[in-house]
Point group: C2
Chain length 236, copies 2
DNA sequence: CTGGATCCCTCACGATACTG
DNA sequence: CAGTATCGTGAGGGATCCAG
């Protein structure tokens, strides 16, 4: 039996052998937004180049991603998902939505990347809350800027290209999570300067309806961690 | 920033900090079947006890699982999922179904555990293919034995307890995957002795309709791995 | 400048032994 | 039964270097 396997004849074990190694799913996450160069992937998550190299090779060998040489104008090499790899999208989105419920305000040094913001919007999108008419906006969360178009309950969000005639520009920071979790009302956030809107200001209300993070009951989750940590400190 | 984190303010990164460490999702998998003792979890996946110990402590601190002292008759300690942890079920099932598509016949030393078999059935269940009437059977895959009841498109599968009046007993081995993937027809499998059915033999046809693994196109996936491996050997 | 490979150090993992 | 203790190995983290 090969090293670093689980020794179980099980679909989940096999999946984890494919994407369970450290950094693998975050690489997939970025590739879900679009093809990426080695340097793109290396940029924001502080992944060592040798680990990135190893993951790309493993996932290519396993048929999840494809290495493609790009001709002329933008010469270089890009990595992109195969069909099989791309089928991880709903799973990673669900996992992201699940994890987002445990997020609190960012800790020191945590960054928001454009790719993670795109995925966060896809993961928290509530189709049933989408307005029937076409809505488009630009979302700025710190240095990350993404474009978003919702039409007929379908969401299209990318991190590149101009967005002509956007209905609004929403500019915010990490407080974005509090908005999406309903911890602060849009009007309150506007009043407190946590968010600014240029254009159709009503769009902020639509936004928090369309992109939602369920709140995690305080009886469980991370708060327990804080308590356990405090108890440990107290007991130790 | 704590060690062993990703440094990204992202729901997926947070989720991976919770369940992305080695063995964590397989522990969750077993707990999805029911509360388990330390020794139960230690049994079949060859996880070192110190690692199991560490994962249980981490996941308890993060509010995914709960440690509960069981009184009298069956004294001891069991671990069980919290509501938040249990909400991973559809995600792990999807991930398992995705990974199952890449399975081939088991390699030397790969084992099938009862818990993984229960999860495999839940993961591959096709509600639309379930018959309207109540169907129950016992599935034996090597040493793993599970009980299965399907009623009104709902699946209930466990690894324990008697199943009175089962419609059939299906006895098979790793060839189960070939059946579910449609690589071998039920009649052929019966003729080849890959599977035996006691009771309603027609139930095997219902079974392969209700529990299905999509086949992975040969143009991608694990076959590429074999080719790449061969190429590497050849080039090296 | 892209696309990596190489080196070194540390810590997480893996195996086993042992204890309340 | 429910873990803790110990110890060797190798994957991950971080910096640097190199080829096209």
């Amino acid at each position: 039996m090969a090293r670093r396997t689980y020794g179980q004849y099980c679909g989940l074990a096999r999946a984890l052998e494919f994407v369970g190694e450290r950094w693998a799913m975050l690489i997939i996450r970025d590739l879900l937004v679009g093809p990426r160069r080695f340097t793109d992937l290396q940029r924001l998550p502080r992944i060592p180049t040798n680990v990135l190299s190893a993951r790309l090779r493993e996932m290519e060998a396993n048929g999840l991603i494809r290495r493609r040489v790009v001709p002329r104008p933008a010469s270089g090499v890009v990595y992109e998902l195969t069909d099989y790899g791309a089928q991880l999208e709903p799973i990673l989105l669900s996992l992201g939505a699940w994890g987002a419920r445990a997020l609190r305000d960012p800790t020191e040094g945590e960054v928001i990347t454009p790719d993670s913001l795109v995925i966060a919007l896809r993961a928290t999108f509530q189709p049933h809350a989408a307005p029937p008419r076409l809505v488009s906006f630009e979302l700025r969360c710190g240095p990350a800027v993404v474009h978003c178009v919702v039409d007929h309950g379908e969401l299209a969000v990318t991190d590149v290209g101009p967005l002509p005639g956007a209905d609004a520009v929403i500019e915010t920071g990490p407080a974005l999570r509090r908005l999406m979790a309903g911890e602060v009302a849009p009007e309150q956030a506007l009043a407190d300067g946590l968010v600014r809107v240029c254009g159709d200001a009503e769009l902020l209300d639509r936004f928090v309806e369309m992109f939602h993070i369920d709140s995690l009951p305080v009886s469980q989750g991370v708060l327990e961690q804080a308590r356990a940590g405090a108890a440990t400190v107290h007991a130790g």
